[in-house]
């Protein structure tokens, strides 16, 4: 009987092999629409939707939001390119699809009625929320789906667009995918202190949960090009948009932030020529003082940098007295930037988006516990003093 049993074994082994070696949940990547960018705008029906709705092809919904999904690689056929925001002709590297509705997931599922290839969110890189919708709805409402979804990874970047998010996700160059381009720019944050440190979904979630007011990077758009400029302030309690900080404000803020690297300072020397200082090292110390019920902060910033540009006409060697003088000028300039941003934060918007909150939480946890619930209000009345010291350590490669 051995041959028979042997045969039986081989047969069953083969059967099992056939059964278990396949991937049950596998889906071919060619048959999927990978979306790499997501834009959230105030609801505005596209021509396609209006047309379909006229034919009765709609479902009960209110058009609160319009979601733009950036799919890469784009679809090659010509009919899809009539969508606004997609490059017009030929094979493109991406395509933007828009639908409106009042629930993110419903909008996403609605794509299943229009496209043969289902959307899949594993590779979502960037979410752009327009300022206008962020004024109406809290970010925790708009992004709730994104945070719950099991496809989307929490390392996705969140940006705020000044105008429509759709525009930001559009580029003139059809070979450039705006979503990748935007993530690329945030990686430059070490070069300029005008770019905020990237805020990922996971960090944003933490900030929203803690009720901290927070800053998100702003993106401007003009003629098919994007530019990072300034930041948007969000209220910690409602997570709604409440105001903007300019590029210069961000520079000022970076003097109060120990993590921010890079940046340049420009001043004019006595003769009126441009002199530029590049920050190489920075040490920021925020010292909270608590006396009774009175909280105050003192910020000590020390920076070392290189003198990278000097337009002085008859060139002279920079040394001694001249450098000291410049150092003082630069420090004054930095202090002026700080003054400007603090007055905006404390008086215009009355929110703390700097590191004051953290320093108080760490150094004086007991006081923090008392004030944390309305910290933003208390912060606006807290006296803050600051001193900046800049040192020029290196004149660059040319010394004359």
């Amino acid at each position: 009987m051995t041959p028979f049993r042997m045969l039986l074994r081989v047969a069953s082994a083969l059967c099992i092999l056939l059964l278990i070696s396949g991937c049950w949940s596998s889906r071919e990547i060619e048959d999927l629409s990978l979306y790499v960018g997501l834009g959230i705008d105030v609801g505005k029906e596209t021509a396609f939707e209006k047309d379909i709705a006229e034919q009765g092809g709609t479902y009960p919904k209110k058009n609160y939001v319009t979601a733009t999904v950036q799919i890469a690689p784009g679809i090659t056929n010509s009919q899809s390119s009539q969508q606004s925001g997609s490059p017009s002709s030929g094979k493109t590297s991406y395509s933007n699809e828009q639908l409106s509705g009042d629930s993110m997931l419903q909008i996403f599922r609605q794509f299943a009625l229009r496209r043969d290839r289902p959307l899949i969110g594993h590779h979502l890189k960037v979410i752009v929320v327009s300022k206008d919708i962020a004024k109406k709805y809290g970010l925790n409402q708009l992004l709730d789906f994104v945070l719950r979804d099991n496809d989307i990874r929490p390392n996705c970047l969140v940006l705020i667009s000044h105008h429509r998010a759709l525009d930001v996700l559009t580029s003139q160059d059809p070979s450039r995918i705006p979503a990748f381009y935007l993530t690329g720019i945030t990686n430059n944050s070490y070069l300029s202190n005008k770019i905020l440190d990237p805020v990922l979904l996971s960090k944003l979630d933490a900030q929203m949960q803690s009720g901290t007011s927070f800053l998100l990077q702003n993106v401007l758009y003009s003629h098919g090009e994007d530019k990072f400029s300034g930041g948007s302030i969000f209220d910690g309690k409602t997570t709604k948009f409440i105001g903007e900080l300019s590029q210069t404000d961000l520079e000022g803020l970076s003097w109060l932030n120990s993590k921010k690297k890079g940046g340049v300072l420009k001043t004019h020397n006595k003769q009126g020529f441009t002199v530029v200082y590049e920050i190489k090292k920075k040490k920021v110390k925020i010292i909270p003082k608590v006396v009774g019920n009175d909280i105050s902060f003192h910020v000590k910033t020390e920076s070392e940098g290189w003198l990278m540009e000097d337009w002085r006409a008859p060139e002279e060697e920079e040394k001694g007295e001249y450098l000291r003088e410049l150092e003082k000028d630069f420090a004054e300039l930095a202090e002026q930037q700080i003054r400007q941003v603090l007055s905006k934060l404390q008086h215009t918007y009355k929110v703390d988006v700097g590191e004051f909150r953290d320093s108080l939480r760490i150094k004086h946890p007991k006081t923090w516990k008392k004030v944390k619930d309305d910290w933003d209000k208390i912060f606006s009345t807290v006296p803050i003093t600051y001193e900046v010291k800049t040192t020029i350590t290196n004149p660059g490669s040319s010394t004359e």
Binding site: I20, W24, S25, R153, N155, A206, Q207, S210, K369
Partner: protein, 366 residues
Amino acid sequence: MNGSPQKITTTQAVVIIVNYMLGAGILTLPRTTSKAVGTPDVWISIILSGLIIAGVGIVLVTLCRRFPGKTVFQFTREITGSWIAYILGFAMIMYFMVIAAFEIRVMAEVTGMYLLERTPTWAIIMVFMWIGIYMISGGLGVIVRVFEIILPITIIIFVIEILLSNQLFEIGNLRPVLGEGLMPVFKGLKPSLLSYTGYEVMLIMTAYMKNPKKSNMAMSWGIFITTAIYLITVVMVVGSLSLDGIKTRTWPTLDLVRSFEIQGLIFERFESLLLVIWIMQIFSTTAITHYCASVGIRDLFRSKKIKGIMYGLLPFIYVTAMMPKTVDDTFKLGDMLGNVSVILFAILPLVLLLLSLIRKKGGKHA
């Protein structure tokens, strides 16, 4: 093999303890503990509970060593008499069985969410349980050898992966230390103690050790390694995602790994690797509890056919695993198991030890 299982060495005992302890809990541990603590002092709670568990573990092993070569199901009878022994033994068997079911369920839940979204749950569980029964029917020797392969892989991959997240790490998230005094630390003791369930395996394993004298060494090392892994996890998760960031995440450890991408390494994303080793850990926990439950039934009812018992338990484990309707129910089941474990394996061994001392049952330390 049925009558006399192979003996295990001290190192193998350590491997079994660690493999059992690391299970479903590690993915939720940062959330459960930090919710209870409420300050960044979570890691102190973890260390403290590690120490407490080490104490409890030593008591447990001391008890076992008074009855060399006998499992808990055999020697309770000598201490308390048949009737109580039957009740206690039955409770422990139930406990092991439900743990096996719970681990399977959590595994199915996470795999269904992040790995195999469209595979039916029964299919995932079925394969899992079949391989499990294939392994444990080979006896303790086989189990231990598989465990010895699994553990180093787990530790290496896990530690590397968690440390890769250092780009998100901010020390400020872990400060201030003891900002609100010691009270929060104590509040966090309960959930962190629960995550240490698993040391109870020594109630059975001591009987099979080559050198039972070293069982307290095995226990201490097992708990030490687990504590270290838990500590790294909690420190990195809280330090990277911050206390507020993990309160609402269902699986914080997984979210930590999902929060970064590393370009330039062969892999950019590491969550599938984490899930793989984590599934191996769940597999080992399920297998060992299944085995313990079978041994329990065998010893309690003085049966000889352990294989039949193992197969007989399969449907019960499956049905129990499918009982919780929602994820919340599953977590509640986990909490309940933790509470039961405190009674059965922290308080009971002490009582049994005292009783055996008073009634002069069992020999001196083996």
